[in-house]
Amino acid sequence: MSIMILAAAILLAQVLLALAILFAGIRVIRGPRAQDRVLALDTVYLNTMLLLITLGIRTGTGFFFEAALIIAILGFVATVALAKFLMRGEVIE
């Protein structure tokens, strides 16, 4: 019983997170300016990280935790570098 409830909830959560990634991906493609694309890419990073944590709950291993942590750190660094590039025209001055 509890396994059935949990499996259904995990499936629903994965579908919703995939929809979230799809919407952000549409904004990456359609975004009128560069900052829209950077913002949407950051949202894709965040939602992918949430999807990996959900996958970790489903499999019950600690393997996906490290992948999620690395994605969180890389997403932060990438977005900050892109914002700096949009503002200054170069990343390292």
């Binding site: 909830a9 997170l17 919407f23 300016r33 949407a40 965040l46 944590i53 970790g56």
Partner: protein
Amino acid sequence: MNDLPLWAAIIVSVLLVLGAGLAMTGSLGLLRMRIFYQRLHAPSLASSGATTCIVLASVIASSIGSNSLVLHDLLIGFFIMCTMPVTLMLLGRAALYRDRAEDRPVVAPTDPLTVPPRQD
């Protein structure tokens, strides 16, 4: 997926669906809103609410599944909570700078956070 007791499965399920729904709402807002400064607010729904719910679900599931306190998932939540406001504020200021440089309509004519130049 270990065999959790029924109450834990219900709590984890509610937190998971709530968090994923919040993330989906944030991305839908990113897709639907008109101008960039409105869109800037949408992903914070995913970074605050959705991350809290899903990380809590993961902590509860792994703690009860392994019969010991497993807290390392909170690290992700803490990290996202710390970095996402910094990211969004940097992006907003970069967009404001670009819009001013190209004479586009912006939300504020002058920057309220800049230090005025010294008169000497």
